[in-house]
């Protein structure tokens, strides 16, 4: 009896559409659909798109912790992505350390870099914060480009394409899809946990009014630094996974400003400071951009990005609160239970 009652209580707390601090049926269904999509191996020709969609979904969620919840709009997250990717790859190539451990090392290295960035930008806001994060990533990129004894410089680093689970080089694309889905689910769990936690409320308080938050006894510097470190660590993990999937990395791509923009755009399209927003953003934008690239890439270089960026301008100007904002509107129209 009690189990049934408890289960009923639990299901009552699960809402239909996504809401702050609650798991919704929508998300559960989405996750199951994704797992099914990977498990049954639907649309084998789209597997690259699937993999990137999941990976960028996780990366968008990671960015959202700093950018969405804490209001620290960073255009430098590619630095953390690159640090994660390079840390695990260098450890693998030089010291033969498995990326499963390299991933953790990379996450730590990225977290340290994130803390440094947060401390540099401690007093900055608005455009100044954004530009400093951009400059920070450029410093990391130029550093990686010129430290060629370790990073291979502009030539980049390649991982031998020999499938081995120990070295996180998977034989099949569906394996990678499952791996990226795990990453997405992990980032989702962290974000949901964050939303329900005290720390999550600190982040929102800092974002909305840091002076009032400080007056209420929250230390903005500590909260900002930890949020940036957490966001950077998760982004670093994404970097490792990316390196293990592409088996090649060079500073001009993995630490490019374009990549940083991408991390920021996905949550912005989906809805900043929500859990479902970054996921929806990636599920909508990544397939569109990848498919446009594969269909139009050969016909005319650049055409796919012209269409893609045009769409983004329209979305940004006319749906400024993103897809999650649209979902919220649907929800508000219903009478409260």
């Amino acid at each position: 009896m009690t189990i049934v009652a408890a289960a009923e209580g639990a299901t009552e707390r699960v809402s239909w559409l996504p809401r702050r601090g609650r798991i919704s049926w929508f998300e559960i269904a989405l996750l199951l659909a994704c797992a099914g999509w990977v498990g049954f191996g639907f649309a084998p020709s789209l597997q690259d798109v699937t993999i990137l969609t999941f990976l960028f979904g996780g990366l968008a969620l990671s960015w959202n912790i700093a950018g969405g919840y804490a209001g620290m709009i960073s255009f430098g997250h590619a630095a953390f992505f690159g640090i994660g990717a390079y840390a695990s790859t260098i450890l693998l190539l030089r010291y033969d350390l498995t990326p499963w451990i390299g991933l953790v090392v990379g996450a730590f290295a990225a977290a340290i870099a994130g803390s440094v960035l947060a401390l540099i930008c401690a007093r900055l806001k608005g455009p100044f914060f954004i530009l400093s994060t951009l400059a920070f990533a450029e410093v990391v990129r130029i550093g990686a480009l010129n430290w060629s004894s370790r990073t291979g410089g502009a030539e980049g680093l390649s991982i031998a394409p020999m499938p081995s689970l120990a070295n996180m080089v998977l034989a099949s694309k569906s394996g990678y899809a499952a791996l990226m889905l795990c990453y997405l689910a992990f980032a989702y769990a962290i974000s949901r946990g964050l939303e329900a936690s005290r720390f999550g409320f600190y982040l929102l308080a800092i974002r909305d009014n840091d002076e009032a938050a400080a007056a209420a006894g929250i230390n903005p510097l500590v909260v900002r630094t930890s949020a940036m470190a957490l966001s950077a660590a998760l982004t670093g993990i994404g970097g490792t996974l990316f390196a293990q999937y592409f088996l090649y990395l060079d500073p001009t791509y993995v630490i490019s400003p374009e990549l940083s923009f991408q991390f920021a755009l996905l949550p912005a399209v989906g809805g900043l400071g929500t859990v479902i927003g970054p996921i929806l953003g990636s599920f909508l934008v990544t397939p569109v951009s990848e498919l446009l690239r594969s269909y139009l890439g050969n016909a005319a270089a650049g055409l796919h990005l012209v269409i893609y960026s045009f769409g983004l301008i329209v979305v940004m100007l006319y749906f400024p609160s993103g897809l999650a904002g649209a979902l919220d509107k649907i929800q508000r129209r219903r009478p409260p239970p």
């Binding site: 540099i120 410093v139 400003p257 920021a264 270089a301 960026s309 100007l317």
Partner: protein, 294 residues
């Protein structure tokens, strides 16, 4: 000794050209309180325009300014109407993301139309000018003179003319300016268009010095951001000072360390200024809080 002098002179000259390219950005920021992330792409388009005129019509790139500057003024008007003004009443981030998407748009449109080839114009001056032990590129010297003339004109315009006074009133208090009968949206539009026109002028000065390709804007916009923040956002003389600083840092570190590290040094300089003087070198107190979303 003469090496140092040579490096300083080249640094100051190239820095002034960088400053010319940044004035539009700082002007737009000072008045509209927005950062135009597509600024580098405006420069790229204007450089292509100047290149097309000098390549197909056989004109001198400096003469191309007669067509490029008004064209960029119109282009600025168009962008303001279509992208900037619909986003102004929305959260601050909307304009940031919209201009960023615009920069991707323009970059790839250029890639489609012009391909990724590097385009340049033949040198204007056959030889460098020798002053004592120092050699000066004629193009750089001309750029320096144009920058000074342009800054002086702009200063005069802002201090003395009615439009300049209206702009300053808008900067000080937009609502009060509106109550005094200043059409603030019109001031915004004119400022954005003038800022774009200045980029057009900068492009004509820069074309003889640099080649143009679709992603050229990215390199320059990062330099422009550094300059604008160093000088204090919104300050025109600050942009000149910031430009000279960046130019000198680049030329000295490029000579003594390695050209590749030149960029590293001015980004580091930027971060150091952000840590210790977030208002910039000449910016007034509180400048670092401008443009922060209320």
């Amino acid at each position: 000794m003469s090496t140092i002098l040579q490096l300083l002179v080249s640094g100051v000259l190239i820095g002034s050209v960088y400053a010319l390219m940044s004035i539009g950005l700082t002007l737009i920021f000072g008045v509209l309180r927005i950062v135009n992330f597509a600024h580098g792409e405006f420069l790229m388009i204007a450089m292509y325009g100047a290149w097309a005129i000098s390549h197909w019509l056989g004109l001198n790139p400096y003469a191309a300014a007669i067509a490029v500057v008004p064209a960029m003024f119109l282009f600025g008007t168009l962008v303001y109407r279509l992208v900037i003004s619909p986003g102004l009443d929305k959260p601050h981030l909307v304009v940031v993301f919209a201009t960023m998407a615009l920069s991707i748009f323009l970059q790839n449109a250029a890639l489609m139309l012009m391909t990724a080839d590097l385009r340049d114009v033949p040198p204007i001056f056959a030889r460098s000018i020798a002053i004592g032990p120092i050699y000066i590129k004629g193009e750089l010297l001309l750029g320096f003179v144009i920058t000074l003339a342009c800054t002086a004109t702009l200063q005069w315009m802002i201090k003395r003319t009615y439009l300049g006074k209206a702009i300053r009133a808008t900067v000080q208090d937009g609502e009060a300016a509106m109550l005094m009968g200043i059409a603030v949206p019109k001031i915004f539009l004119i400022t954005f268009a003038v800022g774009s026109a200045l980029v057009g002028l900068a492009a004509c000065v820069m074309l003889p010095l640099f080649s143009v390709f679709p992603t050229v804007g990215l390199n320059f916009v990062l330099i422009a951001f550094v300059i604008v923040v160093l000088g204090g956002m919104g300050s025109i003389e600050g942009a000149l000072l910031g430009g000279v600083c960046v130019g000198v840092v680049q030329s000295i570190s490029g000579y003594y360390v390695a050209p590749a590290f030149g960029q590293l040094f001015f980004f580091l300089l930027f971060l150091v200024v952000m840590i210790f003087r977030p208002n910039g070198l000449l910016g007034q107190k509180g400048a670092a809080m401008l443009g922060v979303n209320e």
